[in-house]
Symmetry: C2
Subunit: 276 residues, 2 copies
């Protein structure tokens, strides 16, 4: 299986792609749109994209906005949740206590500010386009450090000086896999939906959600995003336990379609076990 | 009024602070936590923080996680929505067509990829810690460009070569102002709530939302975030039209408190007009 993902090599998106399909052939591309285009063109079987709490830029918002398009041609066929564990790394032999710079994506630098002040007090933050780009930069600049993940440290032969240095522990990022084909039920699935409601009907969101809750179908995520077309209107993204082919869920979705202004099933896929 | 905000000067957070209180004295600080600490310590009257779709890192997620803490001592006292309009800028006399580098925060570089390829085809992307840091860097490196906002272009005396160059137009970011004191009703307010529901009661989210919808109170935003304490449990962030002192809303909140596992009113504040 060939997976397109936001590159370069060694990003958290690559970590997610390999967590989802350890044997996959990877195709790093410069944007989420490019990953989706690769699947549409048949150059990749799936695209793995950040859905929330992305460490590297606004990929998650890009993903949501693409999924909400009425003519979006792919389906969510999988999910994967990876722990964001930042490592303090550098060329072998570097001494963190005297290092002059610490390279990383600005988000990672913000997330590790207190740890870096403690572990590498003389190191000035330097921005990189990605955490793996940061490690590459540090490997070429003696006496400097980088913040990145374990995989990119391995890729670049960097030494790990401190593990899991985020000031807040327990950060996880959820990614989805997008493909051209629908999945079949596995018995432990989730289904992602997007819908809009009428601006002037405050009750319709609750009505739609009630169709799922009333059938005992667990909602595991809900998010509203303003639409760009009209102020005051929202797209709601909802994940519900079950497969779209399960009779109860199929019934709820059909009814929801009659209440929502617009509704699209983004896909059904096996639930990632760690999400509980 | 003195406003603490994620710095440096010229960031979109500063733009938001000035859109909210044009006469404010600004106190740029290195993190969202530091902005909040400044208010707690009485060094600032309010902290302005990104709530969604942040262009500069994970500030919005940091804000949500801080607000959800049970002992969080501040209240939301205002909101402000600003348009994210990226400008292609540089030192006066620079020719975009032959520029060799374009500096910016990685998120801004990703968001302007197509425009940059068209306007500055020879420019290689270079990461900066912030969009204003990028402009400062470009001003010191002849023949290079930066992507940033109009305010930071003014601050650094940069020339704007192209306006609003985001590949997707219409991006807006919502910020909140946090202070020690509660507001009084204005007649056009919003109230932000955070609550958790029981893991094994799929219907309780819908029950809580129904208390507002059933009273005709418009929900303008809903977002779920996994709690860090327990897998499979979520904090829901909900914005509802009205002030917590309005009788109908006060009644709904009191009832919601009996259904939710935990509920906190994050604050009531005047609605930002542009949100529709």
């Amino acid at each position: 299986m060939r997976i397109a993902h936001l590159g370069p090599r060694g990003t958290y998106t690559e970590v997610a792609a390999l967590a989802w399909r350890p044997d996959a052939e990877l195709l790093p591309v410069p944007s989420v749109q490019a990953a989706i285009d690769a699947v549409i063109a048949g150059e990749a079987d799936a695209a793995v994209c950040a859905m929330e709490n992305s460490i590297e830029g606004t990929a998650s918002i890009e993903t949501l906005d693409l999924l909400a398009r009425e003519d979006f041609p792919l389906l969510v066929c999988g999910e994967v949740v990876v722990a964001i564990q930042h490592m303090l790394v550098g060329a072998p032999g570097t001494d963190p206590a005297t290092a002059t710079e610490v390279h990383s994506h600005p988000s990672a630098l913000l997330q590790c500010r207190q740890s870096v002040a403690r572990l590498a007090p003389s190191a000035k933050p330097v921005a990189a386009l990605s955490t793996s780009g940061a490690i590459e930069a540090a490997m070429h600049a003696p006496g400097t450090l980088a913040i990145g993940n374990e995989r990119s440290a391995e890729l670049y032969g960097a030494t790990i000086f401190a593990r899991d240095i985020g000031d807040e522990r327990g950060n996880q990022t959820r990614f989805v896999a997008l493909s051209r084909e629908a999945t079949t039920p596995t018995g432990d699935d989730k289904t992602s939906l997007a819908f809009t409601t009428q601006h002037d009907r405050p009750g319709s969101l609750v009505e739609v959600l009630g169709l799922f809750a009333g059938r005992g179908l667990n909602l595991s995520r809900i998010e509203s995003r303003p639409t760009r077309r009209q102020l005051g209107t929202y797209v709601f993204f909802v994940d519900v336990h079950g497969h779209r082919d399960d009779p109860l869920l199929a019934e709820a979705i059909a009814e929801a379609g009659t209440i929502a202004h617009w509704l699209r099933v983004l896909g059904s896929y096996p639930r990632w076990a760690v999400e509980g």
